[in-house]
Amino acid sequence: MSYPSIIGETVSFQGHNGDKGEAYYARPNKPGRVGGVVLIHHAPGWDEWIIETTRKLAHHGYATISPHLYFRDGPGSPDDVGARVRAAGGVADNQVVGDVSGAIAFLKSQPNANGKIGVIGFCSGGRHTYLASCLLADGINAAVDCWGGNVIVDDPKQLTPKRPVAPIDLTGKMTAPLLGLFGNDDENPNRDQVNRTEAKLKELGKTYQFHRYDGAGHAFFNYARGPAYRAEAAADGWAKVFAFYNKHLA
């Protein structure tokens, strides 16, 4: 056998309000049309694990773009830029959705795009995935929410000008199938919030599959964060992600 070749590079994309920012773009180097994936980074930022994960998706056959959602707060190392964004209260939901929309447009404009778009996000990116799959429903064919917290907002004080709406309240707009992966030891989202999210999806007749892992907490895919990483759960989770995308993005 031979391993597939991929090409990975930093590119420019047009995000919210037409702002131009950086994104990492990795795709299979092979003939034929391929599905595209927008990878939404976690709250710590556009770091090395995110770039490696972008390449992993390309390795599995998907043209994948990871927009740097904090590019307006750079330059600097991912952790420094992430610290600035955190101190400023995070990024605004409408800005993220605009950036994701721009990333989708980037993928669809590629000559070998098959027109199918998946979204995957981790941590805050999981929440952004849920949000985007509601607000950009026409442009997304499959969504993967990896432990996105604050989809359900129990404390109204958590609703801010930057995050004015709880994503759960937008669920009716979602059309793409949703895959959710969660650790049962996670505090945000906790088990109850995951159960309530599932109940809402079920009530509204959405297509979804949720998988919960015992002995895993937040960020259990992330081998760069040793205490959080759970090898067995991560392997099973990735297998479910690729089975899901192979079904919906082919």
Binding site: H42, A43, P44, R84, A87, G90, G217, R225, A228
Partner: protein, 107 residues
Amino acid sequence: MCSYIVEKAAMHGSAKGPSGWMRIDTANVYYDHPFHAPLDHALGIDFICEADGGRERVAVEISRESALELIEKIKAALATGDAAHDKAVACERISVTASQGDVANLF
């Protein structure tokens, strides 16, 4: 790093950052998933100067136990320092008074 909850403390002082010493006016304090420390949750402090744009920071990520230990040691250092400082000031006053007396005796 999922909460965006940050406690801000006003500071007056300096910190040594990537470009050398800098003045600081703010400490952003949070308890969340760390970027680097091998912990599930960490107490993070970013010392920055918002007045200068806040582009550079001096950062620490420490365990909850370390943070509580640090609080106690800061209090202890201040108490010991205050006591030593008061003693030093008292000695200085005695010395100054004696010196003034010695000088007065010369005339």
